[in-house]
Amino acid sequence: MLIVSCPCCGVTAEETEFHAHGEAHITRHAMDASDEQMETYLFMRKNPKGVHFERWRHQNGCGKWFHMARDTATLEVFGTYSAQTLAPPEDLLAEIDAKRPGWRDRA
């Protein structure tokens, strides 16, 4: 059971209040996208065994979307952050660097 803190309303609760919606920071290309870009956007996923950045929604709470950094091999939640960003915040990345040295080579 994951314990999750919602960065939107500040509530900390069990995962049953939340819903996961897959990989975060996926680039959605414009109308002139190539077939390959479209395929990547729709189907290709990093699916790492380790550090994963993903989209979540506080479904049974404030209803807002946010992002989470989590380890898929241990289920440790590193932290949550705003959905209004293209990349994870630097302080969170530094924390993950300390806990999982070398993870960026595999990401």
Binding site: A20, E23, E39, K49, T72
Partner: protein, 414 residues
């Protein structure tokens, strides 16, 4: 290898069972093989078996990082059916189901195939329409299924409560030739048959790297040294993405946990397999009397082979409404496996960007039933470069937008 038979059992009974020999050799890796299969789950072993049996390719190694059948093959709830919607699915799943009927004789190993029938309950108007459509499609595909009335459902399943308050049973899709088999026996039986053909089944041998030269595969690095090969089959279910990364390409897959549980053993009360896809629960009774129960996948990417408790609770809660007797059962144990999900919920059986590497993955929550058919097709793909069973399941379908959409048809897809 000694043949198993009624005479062998009688002979061994007379001499205190001292004459049984190892079912398969404990092989050490050689320097080179014609073909290497990564993953000794059902699909990897069946692929090797049909490489030998149908194409005479026996200089083969099957490499397994853990133990034989210790992945999803040994963790699944063993439902076998072929009532899918799309033609390519019906072809490979029906081929597979029919191979299960003769598998015990074919590999001289009792896999306890039990064609007891599978009923999929329709509990909403949409499901009624969906299953009628599937029944019509199956008729055209030559797969025998029928849409049956609630009264017939009650006949098949005396323990069912037809008029549950939320989801009354409005009918069902019945496949009389569907059923179950013993999962471990499928893995062990194929391993024995492969070993008998001279293949090496190598356990405790993790593939850590894939080597290629000029775009062509040359071998693998493993925890037990480097091994060369001409052809490589990646058949590792939830870890497909990791192996693809070693070979330098990506896959349209995500790995999630799927859980199952069994109850204490009780007297026989249900002799068919039942699936309730609207509420996400399904159930069968094992030969030992345990009720074998499963549901939908957990909600997020996961490699831990365990899931969250609330999913177990949801599954059981869903089943209690339709099968009130479940509420009186004690549950004995619960476990999880890591399943590899594709966007269209259909498998990938394909060549890859690296020449000589083939991939068999994406069976997600429903690949046990497909083991012999998938092995048959994958072996042909590896031996000849294409197969009528696998051609539609290539990787290119995702960029071409040519999906084999089973997500609607299958719901809870076991």
């Amino acid at each position: 290898m000694k043949k198993y038979s009624v005479f062998a059992v009688a002979r061994e009974a007379m001499r205190h069972h001292t004459g049984w020999t190892r079912a398969w050799r404990d092989a050490a890796p050689k320097k080179r093989y014609d073909a290497i299969i990564i993953g000794a789950g059902g699909h990897g072993l069946a692929t090797a078996y049909y490489l030998g049996k149908n194409f005479g390719i026996t200089n083969v190694a099957i490499l397994e990082k853990g133990w034989l059948g210790g992945g999803n093959t040994g963790r699944n709830t063993t439902i076998i059916r072929s009532n899918y919607l799309q033609d390519p699915s019906a072809a490979i799943f029906e081929k597979s189901r029919s191979l299960y009927e003769t598998m015990s004789q074919d590999i001289n190993y009792n896999v306890m195939f039990s064609p007891r029938g599978v009923i999929m309950l329709a509990q909403t108007e949409h499901e009624v329409r969906g299953y009628k459509r599937t029944a019509h499609a199956n008729m055209l595909q030559g797969v025998k299924t029928e849409f049956v009335s609630p009264a017939r459902v009650k006949e098949l399943l005396p323990i069912i409560n037809l008029d549950g308050p939320r989801y009354p049973v409005l009918g069902g899709l019945w496949q009389a030739r569907g059923g179950t088999a013993r999962h471990d026996a499928v893995a062990w039986g194929y391993a024995r048959a492969c070993s008998d053909m001279g293949m090496d089944v190598i356990q405790q041998c993790e593939v850590t790297g894939i080597r290629s030269e000029g775009g062509k595969v040359t071998g693998v690095s493993t925890s037990r040294g480097d091994i060369a090969c001409d052809k490589l089959g990646i058949v590792v279910a939830g870890h497909s993405g990791q192996l693809a990364e070693m070979a330098g390409f990506r896959l349209p897959l995500e790995s999630v946990a799927l859980q199952a549980l069994v109850s204490e053993p009780i007297k026989p009360c249900m002799d068919v397999v039942v699936m309730a896809n609207t509420v996400h629960g399904y159930m069968s009774q094992s030969d030992k009397g345990e009720m074998v129960i499963g549901g939908g996948t957990d909600g997020y990417n996961n490699f831990t082979q365990r899931g969250a408790f609330q999913h177990i609770e949801e599954t059981v809660r869903a089943l209690i409404e339709t099968f009130p007797m479940v509420s009186r059962l004690k549950m004995l144990r619960q476990w999880g496996g890591i399943v590899d999900m594709t966007g269209d919920r259909s498998p990938i059986l394909s060549k890859t960007p690296v020449e000589g590497i083939f991939i068999n993955s994406g069976w997600g929550t429903g690949g046990f039933k497909a083991i012999p058919g998938s092995g048959w097709g994958m072996a042909e793909l590896m031996a000849k470069g294409h197969s009528p069973l696998t051609d539609a399941f290539g990787l290119e379908r995702f960029s071409e937008g040519r999906f084999i959409d089973e997500s609607v048809a299958a719901g809870v897809a076991h």
